[in-house]
Amino acid sequence: MTTDIKADMKADTHLLDVRGLTINLPPGADRPFAVEDLTFTLDHGEILCVVGESGSGKSMTAHAVMGLLPKAVKVSAGGIRHQGTDVLSLPERDQRALRGGRISMIFQEPMTALNPLMRVGDQIDEVLRYHTTLSRAARRARVVELLASVGLPDPDHLRRSYPFRLSGGQRQRVMIAMALAVEPDILIADEPTTALDVTTQKQILELIREVQAKRRMGVMFITHDFGVVAEIAHRVAVMQKGKLVEIGPASEVLNRPKHPYTRQLIAAVPHLIEHREDFTRERKPVLTAEGVNKTFHIGGSMFRPGRTVVAGNNLSLTIHEGETVGLVGESGSGKSTLGRSIVGLIKPDSGKILFEGVDLLSLSRPAFRPYRRHVQMVFQDPYASLNPRHTVGDIITQGPVAFGEDRKRALDKAKDLLKLVGLDASAADRFPHEFSGGQRQRISIARALALEPKLLIADEPVSALDVSVQAQVLDLLEDLRHRLNLSMLFITHDLRVAAQICDTIAVMQKGSIVEIGPAREVFGNPQHAYTRQLLDAIPGKGWTLPEDVVPASRRHAPVRNSA
């Protein structure tokens, strides 16, 4: 839906009018302004997507509109007008009435945005109590109506539930219901679907579009994902380092991007349609999983049985030499459990994991140790996976040193590895906190490669990264696996990413592999209903990259399947 909806009210008072907005950052930050000379408008019935990478100032803008800026940052120039009134000069009392009354906001993390100790109905009721004069009974009826309007089942019952009983998607619906409670005319959505699974994301996007059309609200939708933009935006504003670099109708920005930064961002968007050559499974299998089962028992005690979660149900999988197998599925489907079982971080209940014919699960701890060399892992969160107290050189050499290599030789090798992953050799003397997320992930890859593994388990290695950085890290992995003849198990929730890098795709749902096959077949002709559902939920699938923008992943494509 990328058609323009013209605001019927063509007057010069816009619903929201931001002019020359400049927000200062406290001294000592990495740049003087969070947002610099920002000008845009938002009208009734319009969805404006604000796109940018982390630190581009998009959230700061939203917080300024809501009057929620942290104390240390100040608006130093420009103004924000809501239907003609200057929001910034209003006294705190009127600002409070405005926020929550005329302007509502939904947040990225539905898990933390709701008060865990209050029933969801009471939380919505609270909004009504502050902003309306409705009676108790009328408020209750309104809560039920609101919960029903965001598509929650059995609203009368759900109203009395605590947030922990609801799923992430349901909580985000409750957040939306709360935001809609007093019929605001502006809804600010700060990455509302980033923390959600792809199928849930689709539903939430549909819901936002539906309520916005019905109530003719203006929606300011903050996102980093151009797929999401293609799904719902009427107009798009692209921000880079606090500055607005491009703004225009969605069809213009998406299909004929002008600014180089916009083009770069669009080029980095992973695209489903990748014309990979089919992988030839001639070479011998490196790793075979046979009938792996794992059930987690959560909670419970001697007297009371806990909850059980089946994370692995008869999982079987083969990874050949040089092959990249993608394990895709939503959160909680058991993808990571399988990955962690292979590197020996989790012990499955039953089954076999054969590495070059040896069952790793039957080995004792000391007997398993030599195999650790051959199977290495790259972790998801580059901020948690590097020890903050060790230098990068230490971090990379610890593995080889543990296997008896001379420290000095290991350090020389670590420097070569740093160059291999695209960092400077001098990085070895520095600490992890001096690096950005993408650089840290490169360090993490270098650490895994230091042991010269045959198989690399990559557990969501790019999902914590910005889209342009994501493309670079994927490029690196793709390049390395050909250069070093690595086999890889690539775990991801993002089908677009899987499509770029995987030869074979295994789709997991609730602990079972429901479909497995060559990437081209799984994406081109999905057999299982769940696979089709996942593919259907990919945001922006109706949008094809503009022809003059070359996808980043194809720009310097390495030779594929070279021996």
Binding site: G344, N387, R389, L451
Partner: protein, 290 residues
């Protein structure tokens, strides 16, 4: 999504800046330094033994040869305080060091290995926690006869359990962190992981509570000496308060000055501990970055 994340993970200028932001902590540190200097130079300041009778008994403060007065036997109170600082600090520091050693060792093992090891260690810890601290210390000192070593040991034995619990909690949460799992997958031994990966990251809260524990240890030693369970060869603040308690109505200064010494030293240690907490755990700091 918002701007720069500041990570003061290394000690250095950032550490001192954060510490200095807490005014109380700086005052505490200055006072503590004075006490330490006083203890170190006690022999120079007061060359005669604090046990020697140097003047007439019951001299009030500010008299000619006794600045803070003299006690029932004519011993100089000021000299007693200076020499007593040695005992108090020595016992406070060494007993805390021993307690940290026991506590961190047991806590680390329990937190790292979990399961049955954890159960066993924690039940053992609870055994100590259920016995009132002071009573146990009194019993231990009484059994081993009062001496510097037995007092240090007794205080250490009653103070390690909270440290063990703290270390266990830290180890448990760090154990599941990705960098520890990465260390496992790169084949590092458990000992290396405990020593090099987890311990350095869990030290901040341990240092903070150890600094507070020094204060508790000084109090415990004073209480023991007050009851006459101190080392009979060493002058200590607790002993001075205890010895003067019978004449408190006639000669307030005899128990007042050693009492003030205990109070201020313990207060200084607590202030320093709080400052360390602000500096080492910036995320938990009450008055952190604006």
């Amino acid at each position: 999504m918002t701007a720069a994340v500041i990570t003061p993970s290394r000690k250095g200028s950032g550490f001192w800046a954060a510490f200095a932001r807490n005014k109380g902590a700086v005052i505490g540190l200055v006072f503590l330094t004075l006490v330490i200097l006083m203890a170190v130079f006690a022999d120079l300041l007061f060359p005669t033994s604090p046990w020697d009778m140097t003047t007439i008994p019951f001299q009030p403060p500010l008299s000619e040869d006794a600045l803070l007065g003299s006690d029932t036997l004519g011993r100089d109170i000021a000299s007693g305080i200076a020499h007593g600082a040695r005992v108090s600090l020595l016992i406070g520091l060494t007993s805390t060091a021993v307690a940290v050693l026991i506590g961190v060792l047991l806590g680390a093992v329990a937190g790292f290995y979990g399961g049955r090891v954890d159960d066993a260690v924690m039940r053992f810890t609870e055994l100590f926690q259920t016995i009132p601290n002071f009573v146990l210390a009194v019993v231990l000192v009484a059994i081993f006869t009062p001496s510097l070593a037995s007092i240090v040991l007794a205080i250490a034995i009653v103070s390690w359990p909270p440290l063990a619990r703290l270390a266990r909690g830290e180890f448990m949460s760090l154990r599941s962190r990705e960098f520890v799992q990465a260390a496992v997958t790169t084949g590092q031994s458990n000992l290396t992981i405990i020593w090099r990966q987890i311990l350095p990251n869990s030290l901040s809260p341990i240092i903070v509570s150890a600094s507070l524990m020094v204060a508790t240890a000084i109090l415990l030693e004073s209480s023991l000496s007050f009851l006459g369970l101190g080392d009979p060869n060493l002058m200590s603040w607790g002993y001075m308060v205890g010895a003067a308690r019978t004449v408190i109505r006639q000669a307030w200064w005899m128990s007042f000055f050693p009492g003030i010494a205990i109070l201020l030293t313990v207060l200084a240690l607590n202030l320093v501990g709080e400052g360390l907490n602000d500096a080492l755990n910036p995320k938990l700091a009450r008055k952190g970055r604006a």
